[in-house]
């Protein structure tokens, strides 16, 4: 009991980082949803001040395993958002699986976004500002998840 109380006083994963993760995941989710709505034809065009968003979205690399990359993003961000919110609840704040899951998912996201950014830079030589935004978001989420790993030890 005492340990538990002490645990509240010395939280291994700062809730602030987890809150920031949740907010970033929500922003990432909105960006992915925007791109998905475009891919599904609900939105007629993409607002794109920088780069060639629509051409990037039309490229063969905008799909992975026959599913639009943006939809993969929706799935990933929904999962990260859910884990971050669950991980903020007192019952799960010290659970080992929360920092591990956040680290694992965001690491996979960074690897995937890195590959897509490479494609944009060196293969199709066009940029999509929303894809870059998502890549930045997942990188920050990944960086925020690193200190939480101490809790998982």
């Amino acid at each position: 009991m005492r340990e538990e109380v002490a645990g509240f006083e010395h939280e291994a994963a700062p809730p602030l980082a987890r809150m920031a993760t949740a907010v970033l995941a929500l922003i990432g989710l909105l960006v992915s949803t925007y791109l998905s709505l475009y891919k599904l034809g609900v939105i007629g065009g993409l607002t794109c001040q920088v780069g060639s968003c629509e051409q990037v979205q039309a490229s063969p690399w905008a799909e992975f395993l026959h599913v639009p990359v943006s939809l993969w993003g929706v799935g990933a961000y929904v999962t990260i958002l859910a884990i971050a919110i669950v991980g903020l609840q007192p019952r799960h704040q010290h659970a080992r699986w929360v920092p591990l899951a956040l680290f694992g998912l965001s690491a996979a996201g960074v690897a995937f976004s890195g590959w897509l950014t490479y494609i944009e830079a060196y293969v199709i030589e066009m940029w999509c500002q929303w894809c870059v935004t998502s890549a930045i978001i997942i990188t920050i989420i990944f960086l925020l998840s690193i200190p939480g790993l101490r809790q998982a030890r």
Binding site: M1, F8, E9, V23, L26, T33, S52, A58, P90
Partner: protein, 296 residues
């Protein structure tokens, strides 16, 4: 009460355990999550708001309204640049399209709507279709526009135009699109060597630039942008929607034809905005000068 229990008369074990004086459990020093949920909610609401504003209005009504409210092009504007034309020069309807061969929307428009427009409006003599280059910022926007003009120089613009749009994915990301276009050129009956030499030169740069400048002067911002008898219309999502708009602008051209069966929601409403579009204001007489087939 529990403090009075003596060693001689101990309290039952259960009570004793409860009676052990101990510090009251410290309240965990956690801040409330309410502000966090409020922030999350605000971000969500703002995001949904932005997404909703990005939704493109669908349905013919808006397109017809836009057509009715947009001032028609002036003769001067129409005569400044030559587009690439198809159809009868004296057709009552003139459709102008500003497009970019590398634009995905244009490829979609060319695949889904253009063939129907050609079949039902152009080939029947009701309309003339004029294509204008409006290269955007894609990697091969300008090159493909010039390639179209090179195909036009050999009299095969429309065949090559269809090929470029239909197989956009094959060249849009190629290192050297001209190599990809070579076989396309051959397939549509172009002299491949002549075509490639034309594309690799700077031929038709002037024409593409002028076409682009015309689009800019008309306020074209994206592609495809469509004008019907000089009036800008919302890019249609279906043929039925497009015909509704065209009938609103030039009803006389359809005096011999009943309305095309349109899907629910896209049929013209009697007395609706389509009926208020001022007929006869379109500079049809001036159109041939602009839409005459481009000279090689």
């Amino acid at each position: 009460m529990f403090g009075r229990a003596s060693a001689r008369n101990p309290l039952p074990v259960k009570l004793r355990r409860n009676s052990v004086p101990r510090p009251a459990p410290e309240r965990p020093r956690r801040s409330s999550l309410t502000p966090f949920y409020v922030i999350l909610g605000l971000v969500l609401l703002a995001g949904i708001g932005v997404l909703v504003t990005q939704m493109r209005p669908k349905g013919g009504g808006d397109a017809v309204n836009q057509a009715a409210n947009t001032p028609p092009l002036t003769n001067d504007q129409l005569q400044r640049v030559q587009g690439i034309s198809r159809g009868k020069a004296d057709a009552p309807i003139t459709i102008y399209e500003f497009a970019d061969f590398q634009c995905p929307h244009c490829a979609d428009f060319a695949a889904r709507l253009e063939p129907v427009i050609m079949e039902r409006l152009v080939d029947t003599g009701r309309a003339r279709y004029v294509f204008f280059d409006f290269p955007l910022g894609f990697k091969y926007s300008w090159l493909s526009s010039r390639a179209g003009r090179c195909a036009n120089a050999q009299g095969k613009f429309w065949e090559f135009h269809a090929m470029l749009f239909a197989r956009q994915q094959e060249w849009a990301f190629a290192k050297d699109p001209v190599e990809v276009w070579g076989p396309f050129a051959q397939q549509v009956g172009l002299d491949q060597a002549k075509f490639e030499s034309c594309v690799r030169s700077d031929q038709f740069q002037k024409e593409v630039t002028e076409s682009s400048q015309l689009g800019q002067s008309l306020g074209v911002g994206g592609t495809p942008t469509i004008f019907v008898n000089g009036r800008r219309v919302e890019t249609p999502t279906s043929y039925a929607e497009f015909e509704t708009v065209v009938r609103g602008i030039a009803p006389a051209a359809f005096s011999d034809a009943p309305a095309t069966a349109a899907p629910a929601g896209t049929a013209p409403a009697a007395g609706g905005p389509a009926a208020t579009a001022p007929a006869g204001t379109a500079p049809a007489a001036a159109a041939p000068a602009a839409g005459a087939p481009a000279t090689p």
